[in-house]
């Protein structure tokens, strides 16, 4: 397999954890999201993924895009260990947490959105940081409320093994720390992220362990 990735990209980070958990080796192909106006907008890359987004996973002759679709594909094609619970309600809960992060927080704080705020509206560094912190804190507070109140929460977001929810939570928390997000009212999230980072599969997927880390 080949993974088009950028060390700090949350969406790439999710897929790297999944590949590690499932013991699938892959070739790392770095795509720099900032250099040269964004290598994801090169004609060569757009031919591969017209969305101009990473990650892209190549599995044989299959070209796979959008991190959550890739996670579902990996779980269907390489089922061990499973990243989703066996029951429909559990699966719905895990996907809801994953989506609460990957739809409601992550895209609003994406590089291209922050760039638009700067270029078109003239929002300065401090304003953009406040923006990113706002969506992180309100979004993660909602996730904390879900995790803290439901009995299905275990050592991880759902039960005692990692699921797609944890694969979205950890990269988001890495990101949110760079905006000085206040985690003092999120003890469940902090506990789960600490537990995840005890696992080699998460540590090897982290920013600093990537070949293109700066």
């Amino acid at each position: 397999m080949k993974l088009y990735s950028y060390f700090r990209s949350s969406a790439s980070f999710r897929v790297r954890i999944a590949l590690n958990l499932k013991g699938l080796p892959y070739e790392y192909l770095p795509v720099h999201l900032v250099k040269h106006g964004g290598e994801q907008f090169s004609l060569e890359f757009l031919a591969l993924n017209p969305q101009g987004l990473i990650p892209v996973l190549i599995d044989g002759d299959k070209v796979l895009t959008q991190s959550l679709a890739i996670l579902e594909y990996l779980d269907e094609t390489y089922p061990e260990p499973p990243l989703l619970p066996a029951d429909a309600l559990g699966r719905a809960r895990v996907r809801s947490i994953a989506l609460a992060i990957s739809c409601e927080i992550h895209p609003i704080n994406n590089i291209r959105v922050l760039r638009y705020l700067k270029r078109s509206f003239g929002i300065d560094d401090e304003g953009r940081k406040t923006w990113a912190r706002h969506w992180s804190e309100t979004g993660l507070a909602a996730v904390e409320a879900q995790l803290a109140t439901l009995p299905a929460t275990g050592a991880f977001c759902h039960g005692d093994t990692p699921t797609i929810a944890d694969l979205c939570l950890v990269p988001q928390v890495f990101n949110s720390r760079t905006y000085d997000c206040d985690f003092s009212a999120m003890p469940t999230i902090v506990r789960i992220v600490d537990r995840c980072m005890e696992l080699d599969a998460f540590r090897r997927a982290a920013w600093e362990a990537q070949p293109d880390a700066e």
Copy 2:
């Protein structure tokens, strides 16, 4: 079943189409996203869904949140007619299109984001409309490129029956029309949306057919 919904909410619209396609009757419970500072932020509603977002689907004793998680739940629990292809690659492609809309376009143009732009950054009506049109047009152009180049595209986004991709595309196009989005370079999207709107399940899910339509 009960569906907490708002007539113009894209995420609710997706679930309404799915319920109609699968022939599942439901009680419509309107949640007004604008009135009273947003009824989704009432203590009663937050107790149901701490994310403060619609839709919420109640199926017996199950409380389901996040529209894409609800669509997957409905497809697993009430499998006919299927909303995802049978093969892993097809499923990945359909989910990628659905996510390209529901992660990359929809959240950035959400009411709460537009409100933040107005209140915290003082962006006027014209600026917010340009913002929404920008993310709609660039996001849908990427979807058009995917749909136009792949042989799996049929009468609908994937093959000749509606999938989760169509359930995300149609509500987004409804939304994008309100920003005067330019669809002239998106003939595949326009063709597919027109085909969807020939179906009773889509028409009965549309804005104007809802009990809370204004």
